[in-house]
Amino acid sequence: MLARRIIACLDIDGGRVVKSVRFVDTAPIGDPVELCRRYDAEGIDELVFYDISASAEGRRTTLETVAATAAHAFIPLTVGGGVGSVDQMRALLRAGADKVSVNSAAVADPGLIAAGADRFGSQCIVLSIDARRVPGAQRWEVVTHGGRRTTGRDAVAWAAEGQRLGAGELVLNSIDADGTRAGYDVAWCREVAARVSIPIVASGGAGSPDDFVRVLTEGRADAALAASVFHRGELSVAALKAHLAGRGVPVRPVARLAAEAP
C-alpha cells in the first residue's frame, strides 16, 4: 500500500540551514548535508529545501548544497524558493534535485508550470500555493511573497489550474496556520482533494501528532510537511510514524534494514 509521506522542510540561506535547528540533546546543526543524513536515518520520507537566499551568490551556493546533499542522502529532494525560469529549474535538477517547486512566479506567469512540465516531465514540477482563508467563508485566496501580497485568485481553482497546466504535485501552504502549531488547514486540503487527481502535500500548522493524523485522513492529503516541530526535536519522526500507524494511517516503517555504512 502506498504510504502517506512525512516531509521535513529546511530553509537554506547561502548554503546554511537557518533558524534554530537541533535534534534532541544535540547542539544546533547548520550543515544541511549532515542534517539530511540524520533525517534519512530517522526515517523521514522526503526533504524540501526552501531557498531564502537573496543574492545571486547565495543561489549559486544553493546549487552546491543540493549537489552535496544528493550525494549523501538517498531520499527524494525538492528545491523551491524564488524559482522563476526553466533555466533555474534545469540548474537545480542537474545539481541533483528530484523536483522543483514554483510559487509566486507561477502566479505571475502560469505558463512557467507548462514550460517546466513539457521540458522535464510533470513528475519534476511541484506547484506550491500560499493561501489565506477568506474571513467568514469556505473560500481561500492565493497570496504571494510570503503572504504580503493578495491576488484575488481562488486557491482551490488555482490548484485545479496547476494540475491542468502540468504540475505533478501540489503543496498547500496555509498562511493562516503557518507558525501557529494549531493544526493544518484540513478544510482547504479536502476542497482541493475533491478537485484534483495529483498528490497533495499539506503544509503549515503542524504541532501535535494528531494534526498529522487529521490532515492525512479527513484532509485527504497524500503527504504532510513540517519544519520547526522536527528541527527543534519536539517531535521525532519515529514517534510520529508510530502514532500514525497506531491510528491506521499507512506509513513507511522506520529503519527496517540496517543503515548502510557510507
Binding site: A3, F74, P76, G96, F120, G121, E169, D222, A255, E260
Partner: protein, 205 residues
C-alpha cells in the same frame, strides 16, 4: 567497472553516488562502445517513453543494448530503464521499445487514486532473485510514475505493488534485472539493492 548509460534523460548523479556509496566503481558514459568492456550496465531514465527511446537511438545505443541484453550480461534498468525493455510504450503517441521482455507499457489503471503514483510503496515479491537478497517481502521503495509495464510472460515478473491494480515493480530474466522504483532514492533498502547488484555482477555467468 559499471557503465551508467548517459543519454540526457534524468538524474545520473544520484545513481552514480549511490553506487559509489556501496563501494562499487562506476562511470557514466555516452559512448555505446563502452558497453562491450563494462562488467555491468545500469540504464536509468526519467521522463516520457518516446523521447527517451529517441535519445537512445540518436546516441547509437539501441543495437548495442539489444546485443548486451541478448548475451545475458549483468544489467539493471531503473524506472524508464525498465519500461524501455518492453516491446511497446503507450505513453503519448506510442513508440516501440527495446523488446527484450514481451509486453506493453500502459497507464496505471487506478480510478480514484492520484496519478502519478508518487511515494513509498511496499513490494509484494513474486519470486526470489539475487537482486533482492536480504530484502524482506513488504519492504518499501520510492516510486514516481504514471505508466507501468505489463509483462506478457508471468515468469518475468519479480515484484509488484498494489496501486489500484497490481503495478509492476520489478522484472528479471537471467542476469537482466529492472525495477520501476528508484533505488537511488529509497534510503537503506535502495543501497542494499545496489550492493546486491554489484555482487551478482561479480559472479560468473
Amino acid at each position: 567497472m559499471i557503465a551508467i548509460v548517459d543519454y540526457d534523460a534524468g538524474n545520473l548523479h544520484s545513481v552514480g553516488k549511490a553506487v559509489e556509496t556501496v563501494g562499487l566503481r562506476a562511470r557514466t558514459t555516452a559512448r555505446p562502445a563502452d558497453l562491450e568492456s563494462a562488467d555491468a550496465v545500469i540504464l536509468p531514465g526519467v521522463g516520457a517513453f518516446a523521447p527517451c527511446m529517441a535519445r537512445l537511438a540518436e546516441r547509437g545505443f539501441v543495437a548495442p543494448l539489444c546485443a548486451y541484453l541478448a548475451a545475458d550480461r549483468p544489467f539493471l534498468g531503473i524506472c524508464l530503464g525498465l519500461q524501455m525493455l518492453f516491446e511497446w510504450g503507450e505513453e503519448g503517441p506510442g513508440a516501440p521499445g527495446l523488446g527484450f521482455f514481451p509486453g506493453r507499457v500502459a497507464r496505471i489503471d487506478a480510478p480514484g487514486r492520484a496519478i502519478p503514483q508518487i511515494g513509498w510503496n511496499a513490494l509484494r515479491m513474486a519470486r526470489a532473485t539475487p537482486l533482492f537478497e536480504g530484502i524482506p517481502d513488504g519492504e518499501y521503495f520510492y516510486f514516481v510514475h504514471s505508466f507501468h509495464a505489463r509483462p506478457a510472460r508471468a515468469d518475468d515478473l519479480v515484484a509488484s505493488v498494489p496501486y489500484g491494480e497490481s503495478v509492476t515493480a520489478a522484472v528479471a530474466r537471467g542476469r537482466v534485472h529492472a525495477v520501476q522504483f528508484h533505488p537511488e532514492k529509497s534510503s537503506a533498502a535502495g543501497l542494499r539493492l545496489f550492493r546486491n547488484f554489484g555482487r551478482l555482477a561479480a559472479r560468473p555467468a
